[in-house]
Amino acid sequence: MMLQIKPILSALRRHKAGALLIGLQIALTLAIVCNALFIIQQRVAHLSAPSGIDEANLLVIQNDWANKWTTQETDVQVRTDLVALRQLPGVHDAVASNAYPMRGSGWDQFITLTPDQTTPTGDASVYLGDEHFLDTLGVRLVAGRNFRPDEVHPIGNRENVMSPVTIVTKTLADKLFPDGEALGKSIYAMTSTPTVIVGIVDVLQTQSLANWQMKHAYESLIWPLRAASGTGIYYILRAKPGQLAAVRKEAVKTLYAQNRMRIINNDGGVLDYTQIRQRAYDSDYGMAILMGIVCAVLLAITAAGIVGLTSFWVSQRRKQIGVRRALGATRGDILGYFMTENLLISLGGVLLGVVLAIAMNLWLVTRFEMHRLSMFYVLAGVLLLLLLGQGAVLAPAIRASKVSPVEATRSV
């Protein structure tokens, strides 16, 4: 096969333009496909990051108040509501909170190790909840203890209630105390009053999933505070396995039965985690699908282009093929010729394509805060395009190999 390369090169010189065009097309396709695949991988990784909670059985109710209540009045109602919700037959547990994981935006707080530290060590997503919080969300406690009921206090809208104890995620604990000795230590949340870590949970996804939060992914903390904001709160319910639909029907009815002066939106007021995920990762799903479509169309068009142009070359060279066959070349030789020719063009194309792919990625990194392309995707793209080229050229090459030696004697 190596012997064939020289005649192939000299033949290619005869139709430079066509070869260059296929090479260029392969290069551009490679550049775009590498980056598109990489974007898909990034998005899929983002949206499949674990939440640490029992998503299948959770329900979130956004409960706003139609009355203008004080914190005390609100808290009385919240406690009544919670008792009623926890008594529902299908409900495993329930909690009132300010937010829920993957809400999209929420409350985060800089965390420091000393009260006068100027650059924060962590940026924690803040959850409020009583001693039922961990059980309701299904978050696993890995060290320390849960809150005691006597530690829980109500908190109204924008009230400064500093709790002396907190439970943090393992990620936050490790970031604050890399030596692994976080339990019992004091931390500061932008005030001079310390709060002591009494428990550490395994994984608890943050409220925001935006780019800035990714630097502080999985940094969450819980304060033993019962949300009693006069503007509105969230009830998070954990249904017993298989009871989610039933709970969904009963819960809102139960809440209205406690007090009608509340607002639970018909459209989006009650969400399960399928819906919450859909909302939170909307643009990630979208980009992944879009990039997938683009890749498929690009590869199809490039393959079709190779088929078209090679078919043309085959029909142009029927006579030469006939002569070669008449002079003793086997069908395999002819097949090999076209396959090798394509391989040479493709190799040139992917070489240029790798350069283009990396250049394009670097540009995207500077303009759109994307990550560096990993070489794995470049290699995968190279392999994909070489195989695509060989696959596309196969049909015309087989047709070429079937050209009969008699063609040599025919004039066109």
Binding site: G18, L24, I32, N35, R158, E159, L290, A304, G305, E369
Partner: protein, 438 residues
């Protein structure tokens, strides 16, 4: 002659239907992908108030100092209450308004109707003339309502439809957070995209419009809490909404109308003077670091156009480029296959320009066919864009006449460009060579 070339082109295209279909498909897909993403990009990057955007300015005051700045040295993108109130009191611009996002509950007058939550903004009276807000009935309130904290409200036509069955409700009463407000105006359909008067809170785009606008100081007086972003560099010293007002937390949007360069300079000097005074008073311990950007510059600075939209557009243009390279190659093959025919035409006296005309006509037909396919696919694309983009953005993409015209134009022009090189190769065919070999 053109109709003759047309006839020739159609015959030639029919001779190799596979190749023709491939080129038309490639052009169609490439153009449709570009046009669909373009329609989204056009929608999100458009100027929401083109007749006035260069006169609308967003002041930013560095209330936190170096510790609170973003990595590029930018001051906070919203204002703290004390600063916003001084700016409103000094009233140095022609028109101006501080504003904050609210989400109050409304209790319908009809018995048995459920209370509902509405979204809106607390604003000053100059908000309405400054932004040329269109009214269906009535108008905004006046400056004395601002200072007297009158219980008045401007509602959207949608809320008017819901509560007053679309009738003229000016003068009627609305129960907001358990207090009665007099309706002074009903908006015509008004939901500018991006929501430029408060992009910090809306994130730019929102499929549903706002329902209520109340006097700012009235909302503060009744303790109507803000519903938007609140950013703090320290926990407020006091609790509650009042504590927020006394703090350096930023949560207020601000906009001012400045009609000419002199007014802009004067306002910039005023802002710097204010920061200097705060420095002297010991509140700001750092050099003046204010910003005063006009609306287009502020929208750009806030990255209102999502980067996903830009990346999608770029990738789609890349796809079109590959499709064009593909078409160049196929046209080249197609044209050169007919070298014999070209040779005969040239030998019989056809000038090069005739060859150009003939083959560019053929390229043009492919472009037109690709364009028609592109139109269909763009239609499908715009209809399905909700699948892949967030709803608030996808609903902005529209199929309109300029987009359709552009689709056809791009398809034909791009294909003609792609046809130029193959055509020039065809025109350079040596008649003698071709005639000899046959």
């Amino acid at each position: 002659m053109f109709s003759y070339y047309l006839d020739l082109a159609v015959r030639s295209l029919k001779r190799s239907p596979g190749l023709t279909a491939l080129m038309v498909l490639a052009i169609g897909f490439g153009v449709a992908a570009s046009m669909t993403t373009w329609s989204v990009f056009r929608a999100v990057s458009g100027d929401p108030i083109p007749w006035k955007s260069s006169k609308l300015f967003v002041p930013q005051i560095d209330v936190w100092g170096p510790q609170g700045r973003s990595s590029d040295g930018e001051p906070p993108n919203a204002m703290a209450y004390p600063d916003a109130m001084v700016l409103m009191r000094d009233h140095r611009a022609k028109l101006q308004s501080a504003m904050y996002q609210i989400s109050p509950s409304v209790v319908p007058a009809q018995a048995g109707r459920h209370p509902l939550n509405v979204s809106g903004h607390a604003v000053y009276s100059e908000f309405f003339p400054m932004l040329d807000v269109p009214f269906l009935y009535g108008s905004g309130w006046n400056a004395s309502d601002d200072t007297q904290r009158t219980a008045v409200v401007v509602i959207s036509s949608k809320l008017n439809q819901k509560l007053f069955a679309g009738a003229n409700s000016v003068g009627k009463t609305l129960n907001i957070e358990s207090k009665d407000y007099r309706v002074v105006g009903v908006l015509d359909n008004w939901n500018p995209q991006p929501r430029y008067y408060d992009v910090v809170n809306s994130g730019g785009f929102s499929a549903t419009g706002e329902d209520v606008f109340l006097p700012f100081e009235r909302a503060i007086e009744v303790g109507m809490s803000n519903d938007g972003n609140t950013n703090c560099n320290a926990v407020p010293a006091e609790s509650g909404f009042v504590g927020l007002q006394h703090s350096n937390c930023v949560w207020i949007a601000y906009m001012a109308q400045l009609d000419d360069a002199a007014a802009v300079t004067a306002y910039r000097n005023y802002l710097d003077g204010y920061a200097h005074a705060q420095q002297q008073a010991g509140r700001f311990g750092w050099a003046v670091n204010n910003r005063l950007r006009d609306l287009p510059a502020f929208l750009d600075n806030q990255h209102v156009v999502p980067s996903d939209t830009k990346v999608s557009l770029l990738v789609a243009i890349g796809l079109l480029l590959v499709c064009l390279v593909n078409t160049v190659g196929l046209l080249l093959a197609k044209f050169l296959r007919r070298s014999g025919e070209i040779g005969v035409r040239r030998a019989l006296g056809a000038p090069r320009s005739a060859i150009y005309a003939q083959f560019l006509t053929e390229a043009g037909i492919i472009g037109a066919a690709g364009g028609v396919l592109g139109l269909l696919l763009t239609g499908v694309g715009v209809a399905c864009v909700g699948w892949v983009l967030p709803k608030s953005i996808a609903t902005l993409a529209r199929l309109d006449l300029p987009l359709l015209a552009l689709t056809l134009l791009v398809a034909v022009v791009a294909t003609l460009l792609a046809g130029l090189y193959p055509t020039s190769r065809a025109a350079r065919v040596q008649p003698a060579w071709q005639l000899k070999s046959n």
